[in-house]
């Protein structure tokens, strides 16, 4: 593709050169009659002459000016219009947006060439009409695309963070939206230029061109009108202008293709970000490495899966990344093996290798994978396919996207049986229904489409799919990501049940150590593609040998600093935030969702209040309402943030500037919370810019970097977010919230689960802020165990209502509401990082549940 874009640039350059030098290149005046009609090409006339004796080559050379003018001029006019309309619509929203988009829709539906003809008929042909009318039809599509891009930027967390800080529409537009869409403008321009050239040629071909300035379209119009076909002249008269038009448009198209792929910020930054971010993360925690500890299988037990010395590389040469290095793994029948490690540590690659699904640029560099004695790395695709889904089945990560959205779930389960000829379709459907019922999906939902099911139900469907062909091994790759506590517990219970069911092995791959500890018989810890520790669960959880395992265990254990860790802690004092009767509904009365329904809440300075609840409880809506990202339907939000005697300002909505800067929102997902196009310095000084604070932002930034322990400050201030590890990003996000000196910090949890390390780090920093600076903190999470570890009070939210609240200890000791109980039970069973119960007991427990 790179070579093609060079070709495009060369073509375009050539045309520009020819157009600029036309008077010197063309041998004749294109309008002069310089020879007899229909002279064939030859000396003096490179392409011969037309029916009137004009030199065709000269005409061709001069005509390039017309197309280039239209391409560049109309392209620029149209794109400018599109940028203005698109950004105006996206940042104004409301009726302005509605009006502009209606207009765009109308322009897009009306057939443009007939419209151009009608307009041209009334206003006469000629260049001015052409420029005007082509510009009029060409802006609409890019305007719509730019608006869509700008709107999607607006909904990103880093832009939301700026809005929550009280940034003006102008600030958001200038600092975030324009840089965000800038990369889209060149490809849009190229596309507009392409369209303008073709439209001009078409109009001119219909006789609407400027007679004094004939372009290639006009040349063809003459050729067609004067029946050039009837003579041999058409080869010289018709072919060259058409080919020139094609070549010029192609030049633009090739450039545009390149620009589009180059300018896609997500593709570029995303990829670089994840790889580099993770590499940095590895360097950061630099724990000493120790050789793998071997805990061999009990003698005589044949492994279902035997992996030895497995290495998988991505890419070759100097860019090669070793995803797995010399990994050994044995899985006995009837066993649950947990594979634990941080994200990006090679876990998913291992799963792919076990399925024979390592695809280029990935390659199995060395080692062997045996399944019941068969060497998988030696098998062909056809044989592997016979194993996949039948003998080795996968329960994938992110259940919401792993089901085909346009197929009923029962069909998808049936398909895995019917397609391998194991059953007839009718038989497969019956069996699918049984399986779905067995994983706990009500018969009435079997004919639903995936979008009609909740995340937990979709994950159950995937488990039913995995069980369909009665496999020997089930690979579960992060199966609980993004699920709330009780749902996560249900899924783990199902997987454990699957292993208890007739000699089947389950390999559970996850970063969720407590889940593994509560379910697995043996645990393998992977870090940076290597196995660093392995052993029976009880031993590994009780006496980890590798420091990394130990830190993992610690991070997930609920022993964070509670209140009163230090001597000079500040006692909770005045109310900082009081919310009463808060309500918010999305959508209309019939089909909408009551996200919040009469929520009362109070946070005092120097305390942390945890808001917990299952998915869909309205937790994030609460955060958004507090920061004006949504407007409440009813209820009041009262801030009292002055804290220095000036209390009483910022009542009800707290709109005052001073009030706004004293409350800050942190998005907990460090990967989405920072603008990718700004350096750390600019990110941290953004609040100062928004609040128009005086003083030196250089100093303030240096101070804050120091405070969040990004030292030395000079090393960090000029970096981009993708050059930082997750932990570093999170600290930048925290620094951004702290720099204006807030009295209240609200931390909103992202939908997906965070690394245990990242959470622990943030949580202990928040606890320190509470203790040392008396900052009021509202911590929003679905993990009641985490909240229990450091929050002073808990508020349990379910379906928009506060169902229970109170001091943490008292509330957990005696939860009353069923939602709270479910959360607490799931936490105790799967969440606490405690040593696992022995396998037989677990089975008994399982049978209890079913009986």
């Amino acid at each position: 593709m790179r070579r093609l874009s060079v070709l495009g640039a060369a073509l375009l350059g050539g045309f520009v050169l020819v157009a600029a030098l036309a008077p010197w290149i063309a041998p004749y005046d294109p309008t002069a009659f310089v020879g007899e009609p229909f002279r064939p090409p030859g000396e003096g006339h490179l392409l011969g002459t037309n029916d009137a004796g004009q030199d065709l080559f000269s005409e061709l050379v001069f005509a390039s000016r017309v197309s280039l003018f239209f391409g560049f001029f109309v392209g620029i006019v149209g794109t400018t219009l599109a940028v203005l309309v698109g950004l105006a619509a996206a940042s104004a929203r409301g009726w302005v947006d509605g009006l502009l988009m209606r207009t765009v829709d109308i322009v897009l539906v009306i057939p443009f060439l007939p419209l151009l003809l009608v307009l041209a008929a009334f206003f006469g042909g000629g260049i001015l009409t052409q420029v005007t009318v082509i510009s009029l039809v060409i802006w609409a599509r890019p305007a719509r695309e730019l608006r869509a891009q700008a709107l999607s930027l607006r909904s990103r967390e880093y832009v939301q963070a700026a809005v929550a800080m009280g940034a003006s529409a102008g600030h958001v537009l200038w600092r975030h939206l324009i840089p965000g869409v800038a990369s889209l403008i060149p490809p849009q321009f190229v596309r507009a230029a392409k369209g303008a050239i073709l439209l001009e040629a078409s109009l001119s071909f219909l006789g609407l061109g400027d007679p004094t300035l004939p372009g290639w379209g006009t040349m063809l119009y003459h050729a067609s009108a004067r029946s050039a076909f009837l003579t041999d002249a058409w080869i010289w008269w018709v072919l060259p202008p058409g080919l020139c038009l094609g070549a010029l448009v192609l030049a633009f198209a090739l450039l545009g293709y390149r620009l589009e792929n180059w300018g896609r910020p997500a593709a570029r930054r995303g990829a670089a970000g994840s790889v580099r971010g993770r590499a940095a993360g590895r360097a950061e925690d630099g724990a000493p490495r120790s050789p793998p500890l071997e805990t061999p299988l009990p003698p005589g037990a044949p492994g279902v899966i035997e992996v030895s010395g497995l290495s998988v590389d991505y890419g070759t040469g100097p860019d090669r990344v070793q995803a797995l290095r010399q990994v050994d793994l044995d899985v006995a029948p009837d066993q649950v093996v947990g594979i634990v490690g941080e994200s990006g540590g090679g876990k998913t690659t291992l799963v792919q290798a076990l399925l024979g699904l390592v695809r280029p640029p990935g390659v199995v560099a060395s080692g062997s994978i045996r399944f019941r004695g068969t060497e998988l790395t030696a098998l062909g695709e056809r044989d592997l396919r016979r194993l996949r889904g039948a003998r080795i089945a996968l329960v994938p990560q992110s259940g919401q996207n792993s089901l085909d959205p346009v197929m009923r779930v029962r069909e998808q389960v049936a398909e895995t049986m019917a397609c391998r000829g194991a059953k007839s379709w009718a038989g497969a459907r019956t069996r699918a229904s049984e399986l779905l019922a067995a994983v706990g999906i009500d018969r009435a939902r079997h004919r639903d489409y995936p979008h009609q099911l909740s995340g937990g139900m979709r994950q159950r469907v995937l488990i039913a799919m995995a069980l369909a062909n009665d496999p020997d091994v089930i690979l579960a790759d992060e199966p609980t990501t993004g699920l709330d506590g009780p749902t996560r517990g249900e899924i783990l219970r199902l997987l454990r049940g699957a292993a208890a069911d007739g000699g089947r092995s389950v390999i559970l791959v996850t970063h969720d150590l407590p889940a593994v500890v509560s379910v697995a018989d043996r645990i393998v810890v992977i870090k940076e593609g290597e196995v660093i520790e392995r052993g029976p669960t009880a031993r590994l959880a009780g006496a980890p040998r590798h420091p990394y395992t130990e830190s993992l265990l610690q991070a997930s254990r609920a022993d964070l600093p509670g209140r009163g860790a230090g001597a000079e802690t500040v006692r909770p004092t005045g109310q900082t935030l009081v919310v009463t009767g808060l309500g918010k509904r999305f959508g209309n009365a019939a089909s909408g969702v009551q996200a919040l329904d009469g929520v009362d809440l109070e946070v005092r300075s120097g305390e942390i209040v945890g808001v917990v609840g299952p998915s869909g409880a309205g937790k994030s809506t609460l955060a958004r309402l507090l920061f004006g990202l949504e407007t409440p339907d009813r209820g009041t939000i009262r801030f009292d943030l002055e804290g220095d005697g000036a209390a009483g300002r910022g009542r009800t909505s707290g709109r005052g500037r001073a009030s706004i800067r004293r409350r800050q929102l942190i998005f907990q997902d460090p990967y989405a919370a920072l603008p990718p196009h700004l350096r750390v310095f600019d990110i941290l000084s953004e609040p100062l810019r928004i609040y128009g604070a005086g003083g030196s932002s250089t100093e303030a930034v240096a101070d804050i970097l120091e405070r969040v322990e990004l030292k030395p400050a000079a090393r960090y201030r000029d970096r981009y977010p993708h050059e930082l590890s997750g932990g570093e990003r999170q600290r930048v996000a925290l620094g951004r919230a702290l720099i204006p000196g807030p009295a209240l910090v609200v931390a909103d949890e992202p939908a997906s689960q965070l690394d245990a390390f990242l959470r622990r780090d943030l949580v202990s920093r928040l606890a320190r802020l509470r203790d040392e600076e008396a900052i009021a903190i509202l911590y929003i999470t679905h993990d009641i165990g985490l909240a229990a570890s450091f929050c002073d009070r808990l508020v349990v939210l379910d379906r928009g209502r506060v169902v229970e609240s109170g001091p943490t200890r008292a509330l957990l000791a005696d939860p009353e509401h069923p939602t709270t109980r479910a959360l607490v039970r799931a936490w105790h069973e799967f969440g606490g990082g405690r040593a696992p119960a022995a396998t037989p007991e677990r089975r008994a427990h399982e049978e209890d549940r079913e009986g």
Partner: protein
């Protein structure tokens, strides 16, 4: 779902209203005498009384709101005026031409869509390979060539040079001996214009089909289907293509406007007696009533096709279907 459906209908009504109002406004806004736009160059020969009479008759007298009301009334009664060039009521002229355009556009549309999708799937599955690169370059080139030029070249080669196909019109000039012979002649005359339209819209549709196929091949559910050991055919057609069709289907609308534009050019080159060529003839003859009515007709056609695509889209995509009522 219901409110959205009504919203879409309102949107189409709005587009139609804008087109109609544009037609009303243009003769009154354009430079020169509005009479010229309605009855042609002869308006200069009229006496003052005749002029007043004609103005009155044509709804050009009175205040603008009065004119507007009268204009809309005429439209509703199907009165689009008399064609200057043909001397017949405009709807009659249009009715003669419309079937030919439908005969041309219908097959061209489905052929272009089918071929482009097939090639798109083929290229997407072999993404990055030699065949893909070849197809990509070829279609980019095809997309860059103007439709009318393709028409001219096809005409010059296959009709003038090789004499395989007639070069002009849609039916034999002298009539045909039998219905079968007539059909054969009509079919022969359809080949080149259809081929042009297909070639001209192929590039764009192919690129779109390829892109949407590539994006659906990259979805998680495809990875899951692979891990579940489904046969490649089933994965490609039943899952990837089935989902890739959705964006293609919604793209119908935009392609259609372009295709109608292509018809104007292609019918003009081949002398094909459809609405497209009629627009060109009206334009050359300064036959404003005919031009305006043709414009309205094609706009209405595009709107109808859009509405049809909108209304049938839920059949393809369960996610936008109306929620089933559930008692739980």
């Amino acid at each position: 779902m219901r409110p959205r459906r009504w919203g879409a209908l309102g949107q189409y009504a709005l587009v139609l209203w804008v087109a109609v109002t544009l037609n009303f406004a243009l003769p009154r806004l354009a430079p020169g005498d509005p009479l010229e736009y309605v009855i042609g160059p002869e308006f200069q020969t009229l006496t003052v009384e005749q002029r007043a009479e004609v103005l009155d008759e044509l709804g050009l007298s009175g205040s603008l709101p009065q004119q507007y009301v009268r204009y809309m009334g005429n439209l509703f009664r199907g009165d689009f005026g008399v064609s200057i060039r043909f001397g017949r009521p405009v709807p009659e002229v249009l009715a003669d031409r419309l079937p030919w355009t439908l005969l041309l556009l219908g097959p061209a549309f489905f052929l272009a869509f089918g071929i482009a999708t097939a090639l798109g799937v083929f290229a997407a599955v072999r993404r990055g390979g030699r065949a893909d690169a070849g197809l990509l370059t070829g279609t980019l080139l095809l997309d860059a060539l103007p439709a009318f030029w393709i028409a001219m070249v096809l005409l010059a080669v296959f009709s003038v040079r090789l004499g395989w196909f007639p070069s002009f019109g849609a039916e034999p000039l002298l009539g045909a001996s039998s219905a079968l012979a007539y059909g054969w002649e009509v079919g022969r005359r359809l080949v080149l214009p259809t081929a042009t339209l297909v070639l001209a819209s192929l590039g764009h549709t192919f690129l779109l089909a390829r892109a949407s196929m590539i994006s659906s091949l990259g979805e998680d559910y495809i990875a899951q289907a692979e891990a579940a050991g489904l046969p490649p055919r089933r994965i490609i057609y039943r899952h990837a293509l089935r989902n890739a069709v959705l964006p293609l289907y919604t793209h119908f609308a935009l392609t259609l406007g372009g295709l109608v534009g292509g018809a104007v050019l292609v019918e003009t080159v081949f002398g094909y007696p459809g609405v497209g060529r009629l627009i060109f003839e009206a334009l050359s003859a300064r036959d404003y009533p005919l031009l305006q009515a043709s414009f309205l007709l094609v706009t209405l056609g595009v709107i109808l096709a859009n509405a049809l695509a909108d209304a049938t889209y839920p059949l393809l995509d369960p996610r936008v279907r109306r929620r089933r009522q559930r008692g739980s």
